[in-house]
């Protein structure tokens, strides 16, 4: 198992305690393409934050690639995020004053790579995603789809164990959404990247091989979706 969660509990205490995750057990294998679906408030974002080592949990155990991720210092957490996890966000979260290639380079900077090496690698990834000619453009000069592809390149450049995508199509139109989902699917198929997508759109979830439904802080049903027929709107649509 690449990812193992045992009985994860998480309570937020903002004045009055809010029990968000009520005992999550989850296992994800190397190379899986999984989506976590749930309505807002279901705890799916919290679960993603825990998976991405962005947040702590109160109870239980989280094993990532054989390492227990628990009570890490900020520095250790940053190190593991850098080494093992790639993030793709809904709002891209590219740094505005850096060019596409500089954005893609950034995780390597924190690994201590030299400028030249970084640039070379980043260019290779951009080329792979067909963005070579946009390398020196700033994010505000790129379309939404291009931005998300730059973000995916940035997430992948460190060769992470898992790619975490939080509503990756949330800010894109339906056509671009399809492109991005196809790209993720392709990465999973050809590069064997383990991908976890968090979404509330069934169309997006339908692109993945396994759909984990989360409701009120516990995991409901897990749908195996190799045939991609989970969407009520048809097999190849992304609901918008």
């Amino acid at each position: 198992m690449l990812i193992e969660l045992h009985n994860i509990h998480k309570t937020y205490d903002n004045g009055q305690p809010l029990h968000v995750l009520k005992g999550i057990d989850l296992g994800i294998e190397q190379g899986e393409f999984v989506s976590i679906m749930g309505a807002s408030g279901s705890g799916k974002s919290t679960l993603l934050n825990i998976l991405g080592i962005l947040d702590n949990y109160d109870e239980g155990e989280y094993w990532l690639d054989g390492k227990l991720i628990k009570n890490l210092s900020e520095k250790e957490a940053a190190h593991y995020r850098n080494q093992m996890i790639g993030f793709v966000f809904q709002s891209f979260n590219l740094i505005n004053f850096k060019t596409a290639v500089e954005n893609v380079e950034l995780p390597l900077y924190y690994q201590g790579f030299g400028r030249k090496k970084r640039n070379e690698l980043a260019m290779r990834y951009l080329e792979h995603f067909g963005l070579a000619e946009w390398a020196t453009h700033y994010p505000n000069e790129l379309s939404g789809g291009q931005k998300q592809r730059v973000a995916i390149a940035r997430a992948l450049i460190t060769n992470p164990r898992i790619l975490l995508a939080d509503e990756p199509t949330g800010a894109l139109d339906s056509k671009t959404s399809v492109e991005v989902m196809n790209l993720l699917t392709d990465l999973n198929r050809t590069e064997k990247v383990t991908i976890i997508v968090v979404t509330h759109e069934s169309g997006v979830a339908n692109c993945t091989d396994k759909i984990i439904h989360i409701k009120d802080g516990i995991i409901g049903e897990t749908t195996m979706n190799e045939q991609h027929k989970a969407s009520v709107f048809g097999t190849s649509t992304i609901m918008k």
Binding site: K75, A78, H79, R81, F87, I95, K98, L106, R115, T158
Partner: protein, 422 residues
């Protein structure tokens, strides 16, 4: 390092006006510091120049008025120093510390006549040691020598300013040597001419003291006793020596040994020590003032860095999500803070040094008439390399302090919170 600089440059470039306004406060603080220190140095240099006309390890003793009754005499008796006091000073009692002993007496005014010209002046009867005591520089000829003293010769050392009034047109000072000057029915021989400058306290002529005592028929009158000394390093040593010396002189004049006002002792060495203490206090006060001014600028930088952190919260969150450690984020803010402070600090320092040079060329050249003396209030009002190095250290520390709290705030940013902000 190059990457870090690129990041800082990027951040500054995006907020040019804001950075410039903040930087101005820092530059102003450093400018004030440099100008204050420069002015202070000018003042101290002027002080020191005043002090330099006398040898520093000397004491001068004057007669005073007794303050307490002793040995059957009432208080309020005038003490006149005499030849015996010179002998006491020279005696084995003080030979451990006392080097060269001399004495002076004033007399006058007299009208000197030479070449048919007249000049009115005071005479100073002195010992050969006067030359060293008052750092007298001879233009030509010689100073009073032991033979003059012994033989009570009528030798006279003219001041340059009077000598020039007595000169025939076209002649130089040397032509006066060996000539005789007459006054009061006596004729004296000019043996030397000494240099006078504007800051000299009073222009007077030097003659051997024994000769002047004879001339004035006051064989046992001594105006002041002066001597150079050694081996008194601390103020404590000096005070002990003075007390011992006072007791000896007082005893000779039948005054109470601890009477503080029977004689006056002017110790140039301790006076210098006190002046040095004073100038060091002044210097410290100026640093404090300058740094207080600088604090205004530092607070500005700190403020601006806080705004920067606030604005870049999301960016820092992203950076942390993709693997930046807290220290990496802190480094970014600290480096920016130090860069802004240092850059504008150096601008301020440069302008301050320009202002010091302007001061040097204007008020540094002027002098003030004060009781007939011409005094320069400012001498070389500039700062040295030590100050430049000091300021550099201050700037780096200040920049770090200014950036510290914003940097810690930035380091504490939680990626999830930052990413949820829109």
């Amino acid at each position: 390092m190059k990457d870090l600089l690129a990041e800082i440059w990027e951040s500054i470039r995006r907020n040019k006006l804001r950075t410039a306004l903040t930087g101005f406060a820092v530059a102003w603080g450093i400018f004030m510091l440099i100008v204050l220190l420069g002015a202070g140095n000018g003042l101290m240099n002027a002080f020191n120049q005043q002090g330099e006309q006398f040898a520093s390890n000397t004491m001068v003793v004057y007669g005073g008025v007794t303050s307490q009754p002793a040995n059957g005499y009432e208080a309020g008796r005038y003490i006149q120093l005499n030849n015996n006091d010179i002998s006491i000073t020279q005696s084995a009692l003080f030979s451990e510390n006392v080097d060269e002993v001399g004495a002076t007496m004033y007399s006058g005014p007299y009208v000197l006549v030479l070449n048919g010209r007249h000049v009115s002046t005071y005479l100073v009867g002195c010992y050969p040691n006067m030359k060293n005591m008052n750092k007298i520089e001879l233009i030509c000829g010689r100073f009073i020598n032991p033979l003059d003293m012994q033989m009570e010769r009528k030798s006279l050392v003219l001041s340059a300013s009077h000598a020039s009034q007595l000169l025939n047109g076209g002649e130089d000072y040397e032509s006066l040597l060996g000539k005789s000057v007459s006054f009061g029915g006596n004729s004296w021989m000019v043996v030397g001419v000494y240099k006078t400058d504007k800051s000299a306290q009073r222009v007077e002529e030097y003659v051997p003291m024994p000769t002047l005592q004879v001339l004035t028929n006051e064989l046992n009158r001594v105006g002041q006793i002066n001597f150079s000394f050694h081996g008194l390093a601390t103020e404590e040593d000096n005070n002990q020596f003075e007390a011992r010396y006072r007791a000896a002189i007082n005893k000779a004049h039948k005054a109470a040994p601890d009477d503080q006002s029977s004689i006056w002792i002017w110790n140039r060495f301790t006076q210098n020590m006190q002046m040095n203490k004073g100038t060091s206090i002044l210097r410290k006060a100026l640093w404090v003032l300058g740094i207080l001014t600088l604090i205004g600028g530092i607070v500005g930088v700190s403020n601006i860095m806080l705004i920067t952190v606030k604005e870049r919260t999301r960016e820092f969150g992203v950076r942390k999500a993709i693997g930046a450690s807290p220290w990496e984020i802190m480094k970014l803010i600290l480096a920016e803070s130090v860069s802004i402070t240092a850059f504008f600090g150096y601008v301020g320092m440069f302008l301050g040094m320009v202002a010091c040079e302007v001061m040097k060329m204007t008020v540094g050249q002027s002098s003030v008439e004060f009781f007939g003396e011409s005094i320069r209030l400012f001498v070389n009002p500039t700062v040295g390399l030590d100050v430049a190095i000091g300021v550099t250290i201050v700037l780096v520390i200040a920049g770090t302090l200014a950036g510290l709290s914003p940097a810690m705030k930035a380091a504490k940013i939680r990626p999830i919170q930052a990413l949820n902000e829109t």
